[in-house]
C-alpha cells in the first residue's frame, strides 16, 4: 500500500504544525486520500525543536508516526540535525538556505532556498514563511494537487489574510520548482 511520510520541522512558533495540518487536510478532505497528522514538541511555547508529521495513504493508516520519511522540511539547523536521521534513501530534504548550513550526509534530493527571507521580501510578511514552505513541500512531493492544497490553505486562515496566504503558497510552490529544476 502507498504510504508517504512527511515531516515539517523547525522551531516552536514557526507555524510548522499548522503547515502539517494544512497538508494533511488537503490530502484527506480535498484530495480524497487518507491522512494523519501528529506532532511532538517540548514544553516551551516558543523556541525548541518542533516537528509535525503527516502520513498520506490511499488506504487506512495504522501507525500514525513516521517510520522512514519520504520528504522533510527543516527550518532550523537544530531541527535539521535532530530530525533527518530517518530520512529515506532518495528522499527529499527542503531547507531554509539562510538557516541551515550543515546538511546531513546521505543520498537525498536537497532543495534549498531562503524560505523565511522569501516570505519577508517577496510576500511581504515573515509570518507566512510556513505557508511558503508548505507551497514548496506540495510542489516537491506531488502528494496533493496544487489546487487542492490551495483550497486547504484558504479554508484554514482568517478571511482577512486569504490573499496574503494565497500569495505565500504560490510563491513557495514556484520557488521550489525553480530551485529543484
Amino acid at each position: 500500500m502507498s504510504r508517504y511520510e512527511l515531516r515539517f520541522s523547525g522551531a516552536g512558533g514557526q507555524g510548522l504544525i499548522t503547515a502539517g495540518i494544512i497538508m494533511a487536510k488537503a490530502a484527506s478532505i480535498y484530495e480524497g486520500k487518507q491522512a494523519v497528522q501528529s506532532q511532538s514538541y517540548g514544553p516551551e511555547a516558543r523556541g525548541g525543536a518542533s516537528k509535525s508529521e503527516v502520513i498520506i495513504s490511499d488506504g487506512p493508516i495504522d501507525y500514525p508516526k513516521a517510520t522512514t520519511v519520504d520528504a522533510l522540511l527543516a527550518m532550523t539547523q537544530e531541527a535539521c540535525d535532530k530530525y533527518t536521521h530517518d530520512l529515506k534513501d532518495g528522499g527529499i530534504l527542503l531547507v531554509d538556505s539562510d538557516l541551515v548550513k550543515n546538511l546531513p550526509k546521505g543520498n537525498f534530493k536537497v532543495v534549498s532556498f531562503p524560505i523565511i527571507n522569501t516570505a519577508k521580501t517577496d510576500v511581504g510578511r515573515e509570518i507566512v514563511a510556513n505557508i511558503v514552505a508548505l507551497g514548496a513541500m506540495v510542489a516537491l512531493t506531488g502528494q496533493v494537487s496544487r489546487e487542492n492544497a490551495e483550497k486547504a490553505v484558504l479554508s484554514s486562515v482568517p478571511e482577512a489574510f486569504i490573499e496574503l496566504n494565497r500569495k505565500a503558497f504560490s510563491i513557495g510552490y514556484d520557488r521550489a520548482l525553480a530551485a529543484s529544476a
Partner: protein, 377 residues
C-alpha cells in the same frame, strides 16, 4: 445530503462527541495535553445554553460536575495525569453517591508532573484503583479520532445507564493527532437518557432498589428532595452503618457493572481465526501493533491482534479463551507493564506474556513489536 466531515484532533472530537451525547455542563481546569477539550466546550456550550466553568483547580472541577449532574445536567470534565490524581476522592464520591459523569483523561508521562507533552498509557490502573474502596469502574481507551468521538458518546450512555462515573482515556498521541472525522446525523447514534422517577416526590428514594440495581435519579430543583452523602447510605440516601445494608449496597454498586460486562466490554479482533502469536494492544499502541501484525503475516507468521476498546471492565473472558490457543501473547504498552499483569492473570499460565514497555515519551514503533512477535516460539 452528504455528511459533515472535518479534520480534527482527538481532543476536539471528544468535545463534539460530548455535545452529540447531550452534554450541557463542563467543569474543568486546563492541563496539557487535554486543554483542547475545554477550549471547544467553552466555545460551543454557550451557543446551546449550556454552562462552561473553569474552576480553581481539578478538585473543584470534579465537584462542579457532580453537583451539576445531580441537578439534571449531562456533565464532562477533562484532565490529564496530575489532574486525575486530584480528582480521585470525588470520583469515589461519584461512585458511592451514584452520580453519572464522564471523566476524560489524556494519558501523559507520569507520575506527578512527569512529561506533560509526552504520550503514555500509565493511567489505566488509576482508572480502576485510583480512588479507594470497592467501586465499579468503566474505562474506555479509543485508538482514533473517529473512535474518540464515538466512545465519548458511549461513555455518556454508560454513565447514565449505570448511574456511575465513566472514564475515557486516550493516550496523548490519539488525543493530539488529527484525522478526518465523519459526523453522524442526529439520531444515528443512540443517546441514552437518564432514568427519571416515576413516583411522586413524597414517595421518592434516590437508591430505591425496587426499581432494580440502577434506581432512577431525580434532578435537584425539580421538586424532588433527597439526601446525598459520601457515607454508606440507605435507600433514602441517609447514612447508615447497618451491616446488612452496607454489605448489600456495596455489592449492588459493583454489580451494576459486573453483571453487565457483556453490555459494556467492547473489543476488536484482527486476524484471530488461525492466530498463533497474539498481540494485545489498546489506544495508539494498537495502531503500531496492527502495522506489525500485517508485516508478520507477510513473513508467514500467524500473528493477530486483540484490540482492547474497553479497558475496564477488563475482557477477562475473551483473553482467557484466546490464551488457551496461542503460543504467546505480546503486549506493547507505554507504561512498565500494567495491562501485562491483567493478561497474566487471565492467561493463567496457558501462554507466556511478553511485554514491550516504554516510558520515555516515545511511541512504541512497529519494528519493536515485530521483533517481539518473532521471539514467540
Amino acid at each position: 445530503m452528504s455528511k459533515k466531515v472535518a479534520f480534527l484532533q482527538g481532543n476536539e472530537a471528544a468535545a463534539h462527541g460530548a455535545l452529540y451525547a447531550g452534554c450541557n455542563f463542563f467543569g474543568g481546569y486546563p492541563i496539557t495535553p487535554s486543554t483542547e477539550v475545554a477550549e471547544v466546550m467553552s466555545i460551543e456550550l454557550p451557543k446551546i445554553g449550556g454552562k462552561f466553568i473553569q474552576m480553581e483547580d481539578e478538585i473543584g472541577a470534579m465537584a462542579a460536575i457532580l453537583g451539576a449532574s445531580l441537578a439534571g445536567s449531562k456533565v464532562l470534565t477533562s484532565t490529564s495525569g496530575p489532574g486525575l490524581s486530584l480528582k480521585q476522592e470525588l470520583i469515589g464520591y461519584g461512585c458511592i453517591a451514584e452520580i453519572p459523569c464522564v471523566v476524560y483523561n489524556v494519558m501523559r508521562g507520569g507520575p506527578s508532573t512527569g512529561m506533560p507533552t509526552g504520550p503514555s498509557q500509565s493511567d489505566v490502573m488509576c482508572a480502576k484503583w485510583g480512588t479507594h474502596g470497592d467501586h465499579p469502574a468503566i474505562c474506555l481507551t479509543p485508538a482514533s479520532v473517529q473512535e474518540t468521538y464515538e466512545e465519548v458518546i458511549r461513555a455518556f450512555n454508560l454513565s447514565e445507564k449505570y448511574r456511575t462515573p465513566v472514564m475515557v482515556m486516550p493516550d496523548e498521541i490519539v488525543a493530539h493527532m488529527r484525522e478526518r472525522i465523519v459526523f453522524p446525523e442526529q439520531g444515528e447514534i443512540e443517546v441514552v437518557p437518564r432514568k427519571s422517577p416515576t413516583v411522586p416526590p413524597e414517595q421518592y428514594k434516590p437508591y430505591d432498589t425496587s426499581f432494580g440495581d440502577v434506581p432512577p435519579l431525580a434532578a435537584f430543583g425539580s421538586g424532588y428532595k433527597f439526601h446525598v452523602t459520601g457515607l454508606n447510605k440507605m435507600q433514602d440516601g441517609f447514612p447508615t452503618t447497618k451491616a446488612e445494608i452496607v454489605q448489600a449496597e456495596e455489592e449492588r454498586q459493583v454489580r451494576k457493572v459486573d453483571a453487565n460486562i457483556d453490555d459494556i466490554v467492547t473489543f476488536e479482533e484482527y486476524l484471530l481465526d488461525d492466530v498463533e502469536v497474539l498481540v494485545v494492544a489498546y489506544g495508539s499502541t494498537s495502531r503500531s501493533a496492527r502495522y506489525a501484525v500485517n508485516i508478520a503475516r507477510e513473513q508467514g507468521i500467524k500473528a493477530g491482534m486483540f484490540r482492547i476498546k474497553t479497558f475496564w471492565p477488563f475482557p477477562d473472558k475473551q483473553i482467557k479463551a484466546l490464551a488457551g490457543r496461542v503460543k504467546g501473547i505480546v503486549i506493547p504498552e507505554m507504561n512498565l507493564g500494567m495491562c501485562s499483569l491483567e493478561l497474566e492473570r487471565c492467561a493463567q499460565g496457558k501462554a507466556p506474556v511478553l511485554g514491550i514497555f516504554r516510558v520515555d515519551g516515545e511511541p512504541i514503533n512497529p519494528d519493536q513489536i515485530l521483533d517481539k512477535i518473532k521471539e514467540v516460539k
